[in-house]
Symmetry: C2
Subunit: 148 residues, 2 copies
């Protein structure tokens, strides 16, 4: 930063932020068409692909505060896509189950959504995508572990 030549780390940081912002703009706009926002869609998709989860575990996977999970699940429940179910063994736990309507929504829109994402990342060819994925996984994993 003090030296005149561009800093590679800062350069990477800016490129990462920009890329994420713009690719997400595509995804968000698409999700909006389904009457959901990014976090709602993320939770619903998680339940679809991974099955019922206690709220606690959802938070860990989507990187969200517990208060916000309650809020998001509330909204999904109001929309009829998710149902809460109390755990009988451990009564502190509350499971979120996807409903038939929720499953149908994902069935209907997920293929389109993937297509939108595919177009959004169309700036790279398959080989480049793989290279980028590999680097980003390494980058993300390190950033996560060193966050403490």
């Amino acid at each position: 930063m003090s030296d005149p030549q561009k800093d590679v780390s800062l350069d990477l940081f800016i490129a990462l932020s920009r890329a994420s912002q713009w690719v997400n703009a595509h995804a968000d706009r698409d999700i909006k068409r389904y009457g959901l926002n990014r976090t709602e869609f993320g939770v619903l998709e998680l339940l679809y692909h991974k099955g019922s989860q206690p709220l606690q575990q959802i938070g860990g996977k989507v990187l969200m505060s517990s208060g916000n999970i309650t809020y998001v699940v509330d909204k999904l429940e109001k929309k009829g896509y998710v149902k809460r179910r109390d755990c009988t063994e451990d009564r502190r736990l509350v499971y979120a189950d996807i409903t038939d309507a929720g499953r149908k929504l994902i069935d209907d829109v997920f293929p389109e959504h993937v297509e939108v994402i595919r177009r959004a990342v169309g700036g790279l060819n398959d080989e480049e995508k793989q290279a980028a994925s590999h680097l980003l996984k390494k980058l993300g994993k390190y950033a996560e572990e060193s966050f403490k």
Copy 2:
């Protein structure tokens, strides 16, 4: 997405989101120490590095709604880091100027901030960082241009 093998685009999208999320977690935590949040810091840094900007243009660069620009600039102005200045040629425009206090803040904290970012992206070596930057710039540029 219907075929069983992992989709390279979706894979990239997830890796991008995760990496951005975790690297930003480092940056956000650091920025908080200065009494600002990510958007405030982003706007202030923009004014520091690129000079005075009409509010409108800030929004374009930081990808924010016009209503939120007003809010963020208000806060920066209350904190004494920014000053509004009406444009004389085009009276619809309002410039945001960084103040001496704002400049001093960035002078003081930017080096530390860069250090935090450098540590956050420490999962890659310089060569990998350059490769990642290159790919991400390409990715971001395409996503931006195809967003319309």
